[in-house]
Symmetry: C2
């Protein structure tokens, strides 16, 4: 009765789905109160270091509820394994029957996170972008850039990594794109020359200390109370600090860290869904600084799991 769907089935199905549209609905649905999304479940491991997030919930009146388990085990690459992993489960909202196990190995989480990054960039990045900056060289660093191709014409990219090998491998993986990628190991350099910056690391201390007027930053790396990529001063100096879910920002991510530091207050936070639905104007001129702190919300998982499931079922 339950379908077990492999990554090999999921990947082609995803190609036919407008992920930005799906994420738009996910954020608007969340912010307008159509979603039931309990607090994120979390397991943290120290040795080896890892964290597991359980995100779950449902859209009221929808046919499904979704439970998503995603993990990050940061020593995995040393074992030849990807650091991120996971699966999604889709259930019938009327009976609790398990409809599908999506064995996506974390791919759907990676893709919905990248799609959210592109959506936020389309919404908040300054009109003129000379250079895109990417902090990190992992799978999110790759997918964010691929997705940004959908929303900006800029093809000049500065990538910042800790290791030269990692940066070269990053360029190799993106060789099929038309991005012109330069390298640096100095986050400060990214802040100097890029107007659209995406931070994608699992850092536990700030990598960026300041940015110039006319910059948008999307921070996707920090999704726990411990992780942090941005100095609280960046959020304090921003014209708009956007989060996917205010409730989550109270306990995890960049906004949480900045609030803990006393740099910003919760009332400043604007939800993506409120900008998308026109309740907040978003960026109003080129010189503003905008920061989007994405910790990932269950409605994104619900939206992508539903879209993939329905596409695969309809195809049969």
């Amino acid at each position: 009765m339950s379908r077990v769907i492999s990554l090999q089935e999921i990947q082609p199905a995803l190609k036919g789905i407008d992920l930005l549209e799906a994420m738009e609905q996910a954020f608007v649905g969340y912010s307008c109160g159509h979603a039931v999304v309990p607090p994120v479940g979390e397991l943290v491991f120290e040795k080896p270091p890892g964290d597991v997030h359980i995100k779950y919930g449902y859209m009221k009146g929808d046919a499904y509820y979704v439970v998503k388990i995603a993990s990050g085990f940061y020593d995995n690459p040393q074992l030849g394994l990807p650091s991120s992993n996971g699966l999604m489960l889709l259930f019938d909202q009327c009976t609790g029957q398990l409809l599908a196990v999506l064995l996506d190995q974390g791919y759907l989480t990676d893709m919905r996170t990248a799609a959210a990054g592109a959506l936020v960039a389309r919404m908040l990045a300054p009109p003129a972008i000379e250079r895109v900056g990417i902090i990190g060289t992992g799978i999110q660093a790759e997918l964010q850039l691929r997705m940004l191709a959908l929303v900006t014409d800029c093809r000049r990219v500065l990538v910042c990594g800790r290791h030269h090998d990692g940066m070269l491998a990053y360029i190799d993986r993106l060789v099929d794109t038309d991005f012109d990628i330069e390298l640096t190991d100095e986050p400060t350099e990214v802040a100097e020359v890029c107007q659209l910056i995406v931070t994608t690391t699992s850092s536990r201390e700030a990598l960026l200390r300041a940015v110039r007027p006319g910059t948008h930053i999307t921070a996707v790396g920090s999704d726990t109370a411990e992780k942090q990529e941005l100095d609280p001063g960046i959020l304090a100096g921003a014209d708009i600090v956007v989060v996917d879910a205010r409730a989550q920002a109270l306990s995890r991510g960049e906004a949480y860290r900045a609030m803990q530091a006393g740099a910003i207050v919760a009332d400043q936070l604007v939800e993506i869904g409120d900008i998308l639905s026109g309740n907040h104007p978003g960026r109003t001129h080129q010189q503003q600084i905008t920061v989007a702190d994405l910790t990932g919300v269950a409605t994104q998982d619900i939206a992508i799991a539903k879209a993939v499931y329905e596409r695969i079922v309809d195809a049969h």
Copy 2:
């Protein structure tokens, strides 16, 4: 890489496992602080009525972590579907790799709950039992009685259901056992004549108002803040009120309801693991009244998922 294990594989594997022993380890491990068990995740649905529980965690130093999703949708029988459902997921604690999807359809949750009931009965029931009382006629009512056969010689049973058809079907399902089952639709009658009572319903109001000295009650039905089978006065009058997990009893189950009513206080609650490990004496004479309120703790799920997985993997 991940194994998808069907109910058809799980059922025979379970026959070779000492579930009472597994539950004993689960409760002792929980109470002595060897487990990491975050608060239960919960989704509640009103139309049709249902609840979903996500229980997850790990034993420190073990090889695994487990996420279990279990649902109860109480109108399902009208559709010809079982009310309970679910699955368990077993992951590698060092890498986050998904090792197994146990598509048990809620069977492992049902079995570990029944095994916990038998374990608690062995531990707390008075030495002399003339009659076993079961409130409810569903799958738990059946499995609890089957498991009790392992821990008591008593074969006289009084079953209490709301509908005559349900009670007759119950007797039919247990025809392969040597229990002598009588029927009643009056919970009061069960309280009058039974010394070991198990309540297994999803009731939201007390079904039992009082019991006689020399009675043990195991309440397995209530696992949310709303559900209740026992009048708070029963817990107030009990010599010992046992729970599987004190932390959970603060927000769900009979103990929660009795605390809300001011009938008992949290300090009275004794964990099963503390009796099993000798930190609390448990029942000390025949005439005591003991109540065990089981809301179900993730260590039970971890224990049964691990045992089943290892048995299936070892067999190959």
